[in-house]
């Protein structure tokens, strides 16, 4: 993989890896640091294995990110509750939507807030459920790629998505 191809990989996947990591850690800075580290580690690997094409780039990068998360939790102890409020506020400010539909923004924000809180809870008790929901529904990663990321068969991932969705639904209903 050439350096140009790798930079394209960064441009394509950096926001996805960042969102994935941000759904698990409390601080924006931590998500940023871990995202940078994911790509530096990935490049180190690409560099050490010359002429090797990465067959599944999404799986390759998300697996590194997940492993970094495991190490992060090992060092920093148990998972903390997610805090996306500042990011959401900033995004609303930066959004191209501007003030065109304030009522809709407020509705969206309520939905986002509820979803992110519930996902954060699930990250503590069922991390695989939270991971698979973010990968599949937020990042649009295909089942085959998720199977590589999570070391499971495609069928097992399909079942996991189904169960995770039910779990999320049940938690939102009861909240």
């Amino acid at each position: 993989m050439s350096e140009k191809q790798f930079i394209i990989l960064y441009d394509t996947y950096a926001p996805k890896i960042y969102r994935f990591l941000l759904s698990k850690v409390s601080a924006v800075e931590t998500a940023q640091d871990l995202t940078s580290e994911t790509f530096l580690k990935a490049w180190d690997y690409v560099q050490s294995e010359k002429n090797t094409d990465i067959a599944h780039p999404a799986a390759f990068l998300f697996r590194i990110a997940r492993n970094l998360m495991v190490d992060y939790y090992r060092v920093h102890g148990k998972r903390k509750e997610i805090s996306l409020e500042d990011v959401m506020d900033k995004n609303m400010g930066d959004s191209e939507m501007g003030n065109t539909d304030i009522a809709k923004n407020i509705d969206d924000k309520i939905d986002m807030s509820q979803i992110k809180d519930t996902l954060a809870e699930m990250s503590q008790t069922h991390p695989d459920y939270a991971d698979v929901l973010v990968l599949y529904y937020v990042e649009d990663i295909p089942m085959t790629e998720i199977a590589h990321i999570m070391d499971r068969s495609e069928g097992a991932v399909r079942v996991l998505v189904h169960r995770a969705l039910k779990e999320l639904q049940s938690r939102i209903k009861s909240s």
Partner: protein, 238 residues
């Protein structure tokens, strides 16, 4: 709220974007790293053709660069022998993480998992052998020996979901013990630190029966019970 509403709500998370300034500066950092590594890797290919045309000071400078490059290789190689708590251990783990992240068929993945677990057990044995407290060492080494036997069986028998899980539990349990033992050499209390680690995992353990077992073992308080509780806490959160 039905499935479709939940999925729509999940889609709203797509609007979370990284800060553009950070994204650009992180990209720059990556470009610099790539440029640096390209300079290093280009050097050996060029030197044979151009080295003879340089005067002595330039050759000396190039020789210095070559030595630096050779040092990096030696560093990576030395890291493979490092133990938890040692400066080069992070280099070793980084190499493994990348290796683990590579796509592979099921058989290769299983082989890798067993190999990594064996490395953790080996590290645990070495850290325990270097540790000052003989009582802790004996208990830990007995557990390491038991892990080694289980992994030897996993190597020779056909992989199942259960054996893969067991390998994962051993890897994590051995790693935790080695790290805590290693930390305790720097003046920490092995028992207190192991308790804290177990308590952190206990918070995420959902199986009520295992939770009670862990709490009972913590109440007993001796090293053997804590080692057992450590393994149970891993089992419950795997």
């Amino acid at each position: 709220m039905n499935d479709s509403d939940i999925i729509k709500a999940l889609h709203t998370l797509r609007s979370v974007e990284p800060d553009k300034q950070w994204l650009a500066s992180s990209r720059q950092q990556l470009v610099r790293r790539i440029a640096d590594s390209q300079e290093i890797s280009d050097f050996p290919a060029k030197r044979s053709s151009i080295l003879v045309f340089f005067n002595a000071p330039v050759r000396l400078s190039l020789a210095g660069s070559f030595l630096a490059f050779a040092s990096i290789i030696t560093l990576a190689s030395a890291a493979q022998q490092s133990l938890p708590g040692e400066p080069l251990y992070s280099v070793k783990r980084t190499t493994e993480q990348v290796e683990r992240a590579m796509p592979a068929d099921e058989a290769t993945q299983t082989k890798r998992s067993v190999e990594f677990a064996q490395r953790r057990v080996e590290e645990l044995e070495k850290v325990a052998a270097n540790s000052a407290d003989t009582q802790d060492n004996t208990v830990v080494q007995e557990r390491a020996a038991s892990y080694r036997k289980t992994l030897a069986r996993a190597e020779t028998t056909e992989a199942t979901q259960e054996s893969a899980r067991e390998t994962g539990v051993i890897k994590e349990s051995a790693e935790t013990l080695a790290m805590v033992l290693s930390e305790s050499k720097n003046g920490g209390d092995f028992t207190a630190m192991l308790r804290a680690t177990i308590a952190n995992r206990l918070a995420a353990c959902q199986d009520e029966e295992i939770r009670i077992d862990i709490q009972n073992l913590l109440a007993e308080g001796d090293v053997a019970s804590l080692v057992e509780a450590n393994e149970l806490s891993v089992r419950c959160t795997e």
